[in-house]
Every structure is written in C-alpha cells, then in structure tokens.
C-alpha cells in the first residue's frame, strides 16, 4: 500500500529583508519578498528521502497562505514532491497558530495521510508548536524536533536532541513528525525538477471546501491579540578600537569599568 506523506510548508517574509508589521498589527506579507521557509526545506528533504526508501510513496506539499504562497509550493515540487495543496481564502488573514492548526488538520484529513512532516518552526512566527497542535487535533502521535528520522513497516523512529538529553523515539503511523535543521541539508532543485514542477497538480481549497466557518479563523477567530508593536531602538553606537597590541588591555579596561571583572 502506498505511503501517503503530507509536508506542511510555510511561505514567509525573507528574514534578511526589512520585516515589519502592517497597520492591523499582523505580519506584513506584502512589502517584503517571501519565500519557502528555509526550515521547511528540511521537512521537504526528509519527506523525499522517506519516500525514496519506501516501496511506493506519494509526497503532497500543503500550505495555508496568500496567493504568493504558490511560490513555496513550486519550490517544493521542483525539489521532487508529487503534488500540492494550497489553502487560500481572504478570511484567513490574521489567523493565529490555533486557527492555522485547524485549517491544516482539516486539509490533511481531506488529502489523506499516513505521515505528516513539518519543519521545526516557521522563520517568522517561530513558535514551533504547530506540529504538536496537529498531533493533538488529528489524535495521532507527535514525534517532533528530530535530527534523524526513518520510517519502516508502518513505524517511525527518530532522534530528538533536547536540552537535557538525547532521546530515541518511536511511534506507529499515522503520525506527525517535525525535523530540525540538523537533519541534513536540503537538495537543490535540478533544472529537470524545475521543468517537471510546472506540470505537477496544485489543488486550491478555500474555507468552504474544508467546512470551516469564517469566524473560526482570521483576526476575529484569533484567541490572542497583539496590542502594540514597537521597533527596538537601534543600539547606540559603541566604542570600536583597532588592535595594535593594546586591544586586549583596552577591552579589559572596558570590562572592568562595567564591573564584569
């Protein structure tokens, strides 16, 4: 039987761009160039490797996001995924992580899945909780923050390098996993891959298709509110010296002045 893998990827504002907030205090997604979150490339890579090691597997890329998020889907398809699903709806603007997990869970169920693969965190919101929320909603095991993963005979195993310990984890499919940036560099799309991606199917879904009411998502459906966003004042210019033999002494003077020594 075919192994159905769904990879959740997010389209995010470029971290090296000038990221900021829109007037309604949501992340401004219009003025800054977007891209497939670098951390989700690792998820695509692991999904492709798992698929390559399976007898028969199909990799679907799933994103919830604005029209431009299609770029992220194309990139993942050109890396080698088979098809894509794009959930897009004007009412989604301002949805928080709880709402996003609802939309993704419904879309995953509609698509059909044995394994859901996520990145460790999005590079804009960077909460790193969506995979756990998906597991909770879908009622399946979470095997998250893996730096190594494999799937065999309906079982997923992996290594989680935590703060306090390294753990080896195991769960039966269906399951939700997330992989870290320690899991192995993502492949670059080949020219052939880029050409092939243009012909791969991308399904668009809206909230109606997923039986979700508009007031369950968006700013109104959000269970949190941002009241204020202020730009951190630029740090005041410090003292910079060039070492001509005295640099260490000068630095020690500074540290002593600040009572660090």
């Amino acid at each position: 039987m075919s192994l159905r893998i769904v990879v959740c990827v997010k389209y995010v504002p470029d971290a090296t761009g000038d990221r900021h907030f829109a007037d309604d205090l949501t992340v401004d997604r219009d003025d800054v160039d977007g891209l497939l979150s670098e951390l989700d490339e690792y998820a695509v890579e692991q999904a492709l490797q798992i698929a390559e090691n399976a007898d028969d597997a199909e990799v679907t890329i799933l994103t919830v996001g604005p029209e431009d998020a299609r770029d992220a889907l194309r990139k993942a398809l050109s890396m080698g995924a088979d098809k894509a699903v794009h959930v897009e709806d004007d009412d989604l603007h301002g949805t928080d992580v709880i709402g996003t997990s609802l939309v993704l869970a419904k879309a995953i169920e509609k698509t059909g899945y044995d394994l859901v693969v996520c990145g460790m965190a999005s590079t804009d919101g960077s909460m790193g909780v969506l995979p756990a929320l998906l597991a909770e909603r879908l009622g399946v095991p979470q095997v998250t923050l893996l730096s190594e993963v494999s799937v065999e005979d309906g079982t997923v195993t992996g290594r989680r390098d935590g703060d306090a310990a390294t753990e080896h984890l195991q769960a039966s499919l269906p399951a939700v996993i997330s992989v870290t940036d320690q899991s192995g560099e993502a492949r670059y799309p080949s020219f052939k891959g880029i050409m092939a991606a243009k012909k791969k199917p991308v399904t668009s879904l809206d909230l109606d298709d997923l039986d979700i009411d508009a007031d369950e998502v968006g700013l109104t459906g959000s269970w949190t509110a941002v009241d204020e966003a202020t730009e951190r004042p630029a740090r005041t210019a410090g003292t910079i010296v060039t070492d001509e033999g005295e640099g260490a002494k000068q630095l020690a003077e500074f540290l002593a002045g600040q009572k660090f020594i």
């Binding site: 597991a135 310990a165 630095l251």
Partner: protein, 320 residues
C-alpha cells in the same frame, strides 16, 4: 486571589532556575500553584515554597518518562480542572511549548509563546515578546479562555517570597493517545561544569573565525576566566567544531546575558536573533566591516588569536 498554575521544570526534584523566574512572574497575576510531575516533589517543594508556591500539585507515573509530551498534557489538564486558574505558565523549552500548545487547544484557550516579560492588565495578563530576530517588541493578550503562556529563561530575576508550598497528590488518568510516542532510550547530556547557556550572566561565543575544533580552547579559556558559558555560531556548529546544544541564534538558543562576547562571528540576522537582547555586547573580529560591530558596546578590530589569550591573561591578573 486567583491562582496561577506554574509548570515545574526540574531534574529529579532539583528545580531549574527558569521555574523560579516563572513563580516570580506568576505572583504579579495571582497565587502560584506549582505542578510537579515525576519524582522528587518533596525536595522540590521546599524551593517552590521559598519562591512563592502556595501549593504544589504532584503526580508521578512511569508514563511521564516513557512517552513523549502527551502524558504531561493529561496531567497539566488534570491540574487545570482541579484549580480553575487565572493563567497557566510554562517555561519556553521545546517541551514546555509543546505541552502548552496542546493544553491550550484542549481547554479552548489562547496561547502565547516565548514571552520575555509579563504583567497584570485590566483584561488579563499582558505578555511582552521579542519578534523578527528581536528587532520588534510586541505586547499581546489572550482574548479567549484561560491564558496559556510560555516564558523564556532570564526574563525576570527570581525573588524569594516564602509561601506554604503544601504538597498535594494530583490524580491523573492518561488518555488513549497519550502513550503514542515511545521514548525508547534517553541519554542525559553530560555536564560541562560551566554555567547553563540560557541562564548564564556572561556568554562567550566563537564562530567560523575560530577555525577548528581544537582552537575552541581559546574561547573556553576566556569563558572560564569570566565564569561564563560557551556559545557558538551555526557556522562553527555545522563545521563540527562545537556541539549543537551550544548554538546561539534562531535555530539554537536565545540568550540574554549581562555580557555577550562574540569572537570570529560576523553577526548574521539569524545569529542576532539569539543574542540581540543581551545587555552589553562585545565583539572581536578582524573585519572592521562585520555587521556585528553595529550592535556592540565595545568592539575590537583584530585577530581573536591575539586578543582573546591576552584578554584571558589580563582578567586572571586582575582577579589575582
């Protein structure tokens, strides 16, 4: 006064510092009730009481260690049902955030992660967060249900405030899905003898400029002279020169020490994300154009292999 649940991070009853910070912040909102899962509650209770826990709810079961995250969600939910708190606070560790998220979903409540400050507001707790690689500060609230909030280490100075800290058994029934992810083996990390990276008052980090695992002793020697923790950039970690657990930045640890010293680190946005909120920042880099110099209080343009050993000697001499 309303009660606030505080999830305890501990190793066999030895309470970790971020929990003391949580108790301190919780007292701004209500009376802290600590939730201690696993062994060692009696040992922990003394410390928890010292920092203001009126009650300590505890449960111990093999499930907590044998399965990932979910059993702890069941237990925290049991505590939530028993207490009906005004808020639930957890440490912003990987596990703390996952437990928080699943609990929030179950109890139909809004979730805020990675707060760096917390205060009481007219309509519930107000959380300060640092976003977009710490270039913005936001103030947020939970608008539905009991706020579930995770707080980053070093967000408050722990203040003692003796309370009763009476230990009460919490009864927990594990749900069907809680034993889905088996922890097959667990290897605790060996202690380096240095302060914990996220808790340290001083952090000395090395980057690609350190140019080899064997050269990291230059960083370690300076750290030891200052009583500091050791950090590393992703470039140094990816090269295999230093363990990933020491990585500072977006996909590593966020640190906010009194003093951060960056040596041989250029200051990429993803690195800044993890250290920009440090009180005092110092850099040693041989490239005067390196972006890290935009952040510093004091910068030395020079070779780290010259400057760091001399600085280490100078510090040792001054400390006598």
């Amino acid at each position: 006064m309303a009660e606030v649940l505080v999830y305890v991070d501990h190793v066999d009853g030895a309470v970790r510092k971020p929990t003391l910070e949580l108790l301190t912040l919780a007292r701004r909102i209500g009376d802290p009730v600590a939730v201690h899962l696993g062994a060692g509650a009696d040992t922990a209770a003394a410390t928890l009481a010292e920092y203001g826990a009126a009650r300590v709810l505890t449960a111990d079961a093999p499930e907590f260690a044998d399965y990932l995250v979910a059993p702890k969600v069941d237990a925290l939910q049991a505590a939530y049902d028993a207490v009906s708190p005004a808020a639930v606070l957890l440490p912003s560790s990987a596990e703390g955030k996952e437990i928080a998220a699943r609990l929030a979903l179950r109890i139909g409540a809004g979730l805020i992660t990675d707060a760096v400050d917390l205060e009481a507001g007219d309509s519930g707790p107000v959380a300060t967060q640092s976003v977009f690689a710490a270039s913005f500060t936001t103030r947020s609230r939970v608008t539905k249900g009991t706020p579930v909030i995770t707080v980053k280490p070093n967000s408050a100075a722990p203040e003692a405030a003796q309370a009763a800290g009476s230990v009460e058994q919490l009864s927990v029934t594990f749900g069907e899905t809680s034993t889905g992810t088996k922890v097959v083996s667990r290897t605790p990390r060996e202690s380096t003898g240095r302060p914990e990276l996220t808790e340290a008052a001083i952090v000395v980090s090395g980057g690609r400029g350190v140019n080899g695992a064997e050269n990291f002793s230059v960083i370690e020697n300076l750290a030891d002279a200052l009583g500091a923790a050791v950090g590393a950039s992703r470039a140094a970690v990816d090269a295999g020169w230093y363990p990933h657990t020491h990585q500072v930045g977006q996909t590593g640890k966020t640190v906010s020490p009194q003093l951060y010293i960056a040596a041989g680190i250029s200051g990429a946005i993803q690195h800044r994300a993890g250290m920009q909120t440090s009180k005092t920042i110092v850099a040693v880099n041989k490239d005067a154009e390196a972006p890290i110099f935009e952040l510093v209080d004091y910068g030395v343009v020079g070779d780290l292999f010259q400057v760091l050993p001399q600085l280490t000697e100078e510090i040792k001499a001054r400390k006598g």
